[in-house]
Symmetry: C2
Subunit: 129 residues, 2 copies
């Protein structure tokens, strides 16, 4: 499958949809957006940090493995680093496949693995008392 | 929840993302795209027809019911009717919610219900022998 991974310190721009073949029947996209309320804190932004080489390597491994379980044709993964204001996306994932079932399962498992074992993490700024 | 339903006879244009509040944490989108191979036939396009007033009414009922099970804030549903060429989307659904779990479940069940009991159907043109 085609794997594109971008880590960016500027606002995420959703890339134009490019279909790699005439057999793509499903495009599934996810955007994770920074919310104002994180637990009991009221935020204006979150901060994301990453160990970038390892993040790219682990993500590539995940996507390669998941594509054997849920055959998909392409994944585009974009994570913003640094400050991300409330209301803006920190994460964008697009999955293309022949069928929606595989695309949806690939997406769901990609997000779960991202939270679990990819070295990209959020830093909640300390709130003034 | 905010429900927007569009049935259109022209190409689907993905609407700009508008967040109804600062508590939206997940945006999930699905596009169903016409594939070249439908069973054993090689297509250049599919044709969709609808009983429009009933389709709108049934969809509104589905979304209202699903939002009680999987709380979401907004859904945008666009279905193209008439001829849809291979490689172009016939369906677009966007779901906004605080959390990805609800948005994903709402999306998956919306698509299943659409296929099952909304009067929008595809017509595969007869192939020349």
């Amino acid at each position: 499958m085609k794997i594109d991974i971008f880590l960016t310190r500027t606002a995420i721009i959703v890339p134009p949809l490019a279909l790699p073949s005439r057999e793509i029947g499903a495009c599934v996209e996810f955007q994770g957006i920074v919310r104002e309320l994180e637990g009991e804190a009221s935020l204006t932004a979150l901060y994301y940090e990453a160990y970038e080489p390892m993040a790219r390597s682990v993500l590539t491994g995940h996507f390669t493995e998941l594509s054997t379980q849920h055959p998909c044709d392409a994944v585009v993964f974009i994570h913003r680093l640094g400050e991300v204001p409330v209301g803006e996306p920190s994460l964008f994932i697009r999955v293309l496949a022949a069928h929606r079932g595989e695309a949806l399962r690939f997406l769901v498992e990609s997000i779960e693995r991202l939270k679990r074992d990819v070295p990209i993490w959020k830093v909640v700024p300390e709130m003034a008392p």
